[in-house]
Amino acid sequence: MWSIVKTIWTVFLHAFQKRITVQYPEEGFNLPPRYRGRIILSRDPDGGERCVACYLCAVACPVDCIALQATQDETGRRYPEFFRINFSRCIFCGYCEEACPTYAIQLTPDFHMSEYNRRNLVYEKDDLLINGPGKYPGYSFWQISGVKIGGKDKGEAEREARPTDLQSLLP
């Protein structure tokens, strides 16, 4: 008897509290920034593609939903020729983001990805690339790596000396 009264009282109190439920999809809501939703490929602060096609995301992926092919441009910059994520397979575990050595692949707080056609869930590189650096604004892999690419010569990265000409006597 007493427990029934207590239950009714609790329900009564809750009726006056702030609503937790949201009228989705009419109403939106804010997800935390580290929510694991739709995967994107980010860009360097200077606008270049961050992905260097190292295949670590593909090997980390437990469901094998990432496919890519490495290639290089005429200046020696390594990038993916194609980069494909099959979101109908993706389980949003975030392992790819964890594996990525260049912060290129990131998960975003967005899950509005339903499609009528299953094939539309296969995202190509153009669909994945965003126009900014995502969660890591200042980072640029090519400024740390010793490899020469277009616009950055050997020895111009952080904490690197310019190549020395050993044949020269000039200081």
């Binding site: 190292c54 090997v59 092919q69 892999f141 490899v147 050997k154 690197e160 020395t164």
Partner: protein, 686 residues
């Protein structure tokens, strides 16, 4: 033999031969001592300091790679002190090492990466600027990035000692030391890629593999190189079952160990040459037009049956590239179904004559490991380093490790002169006379391996063998051949039977009705004399013979089929298919399908490689080899037993193509990589 030395490594007691290095002794009991500069078989460097171990009663840590095992030695390889030393060593190695791992091709198979993962030192305390040098391209296949180099000098030593080329050296000193190629800014060498393979980091990387994929993304298929006769195992990295990405032999399986020349490592690229035949062709109105397999096969079968019925004359020309199974099946088909003895292939060395001469002395054929272990070696008439790269490599290793005495009888100077005890120059055809001058020194040797090329053929082979017998010491022989299965072709019976025509006679005969060419290019320089003959060709690429053909059946290359081949030393090795190419079928299957169309398949037996190999084991003398060894990727030598050598011989029909390192008969013409290197244009031979 001296007494064994007893020592203890990490609590495990073991006995080793005196002089064994601690690092090797540890490996025997399953303890890995990490090392960058140490490489089994090369000289000692002790440059990297990774192999430091604790030895009881020694005041400091010792380098295991230079420390010979001593009686009562107690070694510990995993103490905190050792781990600390290795961590510090790694930290030093990383001071100038760039953070390129995500874009470096060695990523995933980098020894430095593995060691840092194991011992830490992931955080660098080095605050100064890193020393940097421009990346260089030394040749189409070799790139060098100095900052990644950890100066282990493995590449310098393998090139100098292993290959005998001496194309790499070290310039400058201290932090500015770097590896330098022999021509200042580019390499002029054998382009074998051994330096790339042996590099523990990504400093030397391959132009072919560069930025293509990752080691874990590939499937690895062990196959036997399809070019020269040495039978090196090349492990092909394949993606998606259709693309070969690279070739190497990192697991050191096969008779070649880690050795590969440019052909084994890079010249697989003929398989996707733009001109590769991928559909059967039939001549209609004077032009070769693509047709379906069914049409092509029925046309061939109809013509074969028709010619056989009216007693026409067949000529069957086999290949020295195809597998043992295919060769066996082809000659069986020709003999049983077509009823012809006109079977031959391009013979590049007189193995048949050697077989006859060795009657009554089985076990006189040397293997590659014999070549490494025997005390003396005699090379006759061949530039071994260019024509037989693995045998030359093994011989150099024998000289280096066992101080083998090498005798050379050749026409001109050869690279083996450098390691030879005696070099004799002899005109072609006069090698046997020159040999007499070596009789006395050879008599003093405890044992001997004789390698001879097509310079010794016909009756001369018999004379050579009796010369060998007259020395009074154990003598083993290798008859040098050109192509990957030349020896197998002889053993399987691709030689004319009694009354059969030889290759040259077939070409010259006026009355041949049907030519059947399987994987060969006999009409490279001129049409057959029989102008109206029906010409059936099975091949990969549009060779001169294919251009003349009436029916062309596209065949699968070595890398697209399974089977076994016999190397120049008679070692039989198996392989499996690495890739698939649309439209092409293995020759074995094509022959089987022709048989099926003719309605004779039942008598020929199944055309699966395993079934045919079973039959070969039962019927071909010397081929009763353990299938488990072959299937597991091992090599077993086919020993000629006594009995009819088969086929008649005539001198003058044996002719070697004398392919250098950058040529491989018709097949080599279709490898772009082989022709991309500078050396291939310098001169055809070196």
């Amino acid at each position: 033999m001296a007494d064994l030395v007893k020592l203890t490594i990490d609590g495990k007691a073991l006995e080793v031969e005196p002089g064994t290095l601690v690092i090797d002794a540890a490996k025997r009991v399953g303890i890995e001592v990490p090392a960058f500069c140490y490489w089994e078989g090369l000289s000692l460097q002790a440059a990297c300091r990774m192999c430091l171990v604790e030895v009881e009663k020694a005041p400091k840590l010792m380098t295991a790679c230079t420390l010979p095992a001593a009686e009562g030695m107690v070694v510990r390889t995993e103490t905190p002190q050792v781990a600390q030393a290795r961590k510090s060593t790694l930290e030093f190695l990383l001071t100038n090492h760039p953070l390129d791992c995500p874009v470096c091709d060695a990523g995933g198979e980098c020894e430095l990466q593995d060691m840092v993962f194991r011992y830490g030192a992931g955080e660098s305390r080095f605050q100064e600027t890193k020393y940097h040098v421009e990346e260089k391209q030394w040749s189409p296949v070799v790139f060098f990035d100095r900052p990644r180099c950890i100066l282990c000098f493995r590449c310098v030593r393998i090139c100098d000692e292993g290959l005998g080329v001496r194309a790499l050296g070290i310039v400058n000193r201290g932090v500015t030391s770097e590896i330098a190629p022999n021509r200042g800014d580019h390499l002029e060498c054998d382009e074998c890629g051994a330096c790339i393979d042996i590099c523990p980091v990504g400093a030397l990387n391959s132009g072919i593999y560069r930025y293509r994929t990752r080691p874990w993304e590939m499937d690895h298929a062990g196959t036997i190189c399809t070019h020269c006769s040495n039978g090196c195992k090349t492990t092909l990295g394949v993606r998606g079952g259709t693309r070969i990405i690279r070739g190497n032999n990192r697991d050191r399986s096969g008779i070649n160990g880690e050795f590969l020349c440019i052909k084994g490592r890079y010249a697989y690229d003929f398989y996707n040459h733009p001109e590769r035949l991928q559909s059967p062709l039939m001549r209609r109105n004077g032009k070769l037009e693509p047709v379906s397999w069914a049409d092509a096969l029925s046309a061939v079968a109809r013509r074969f049956s028709e010619t056989k019925e009216r007693g026409g004359k067949f000529a069957v020309i086999g290949s020295n590239h195809t597998t043992n199974e295919e060769n066996y099946y082809l000659q069986k088909f020709a003999r049983q179904v077509l009823g012809t003895g006109n079977i031959d292939h391009h013979r590049t060395g007189d193995a048949a004559a050697l077989r006859e001469a060795l009657q009554g002395a089985p076990g006189s054929l040397a293997t590659v490991s014999d070549l490494y272990g025997r005390k003396a070696v005699l090379v006759i008439g061949a530039h071994l380093a260019l024509e037989q790269p693995l045998l030359a490599f093994t011989l150099r290793a024998n000289y280096r490790h066992h101080q083998a005495r090498v005798y050379v009888v050749t026409e001109g100077p050869v690279r083996e002169d450098k390691i030879a005890a005696v070099s004799v120059r002899a005109e072609r055809g006069r090698e046997l006379e020159a040999l007499e001058s070596l009789r006395e020194p050879l008599r003093g040797e405890p044992e001997l391996v004789i390698l001879f090329s097509d310079a010794i053929q016909g009756e001369a082979v018999g004379k050579l063998v009796s010369f060998g017998r007259s020395l009074g010491i154990p003598v083993q022989y290798v008859c040098l051949l050109d192509y990957s299965n030349s020896r197998g072709a002889v053993d399987m019976g691709l030689v004319p039977g009694a009354g059969g025509l030889e290759l040259d006679e077939m070409k010259a005969a006026q009355d041949i009705d049907v030519f059947w060419v399987v994987g060969a290019n006999p009409f490279e320089s001129g049409r057959p004399a029989a102008k109206d003959a029906f010409l059936v060709v099975q091949d990969l690429l549009p060779t001169e013979t294919v251009q003349l053909a009436d029916v062309v059946l596209p065949a699968a290359s070595r890398y697209e089929k399974a089977g076994t081949v016999t190397s120049v030393t008679g070692e039989v090795q198996g392989f499996r298919a690495a890739v698939q190419v649309m439209g092409a079928k293995p020759d074995l299957e094509i022959i089987g399908l022709i048989g099926k169309q003719m309605g004779v398949a039942a008598g020929m037996g199944p055309w699966s490689p395993e079934a045919v190999f079973e039959e070969i084991r039962k019927t071909v003398p010397g081929y009763d080899l353990p299938p488990a060894v072959i299937a597991a990727g091992g090599a077993a030598q086919a020993v000629w037993s006594d009995g009819a050598a088969g086929g008649r011989r005539r001198t003058g029909t044996v002719r070697s193509d004398r392919n250098g390192l950058f040529a491989s008969g018709t097949l080599g013409r279709y490898s772009k990589i082989l022709h991309s290197v500078l050396e291939s244009r310098l001169d055809g031979r070196s």
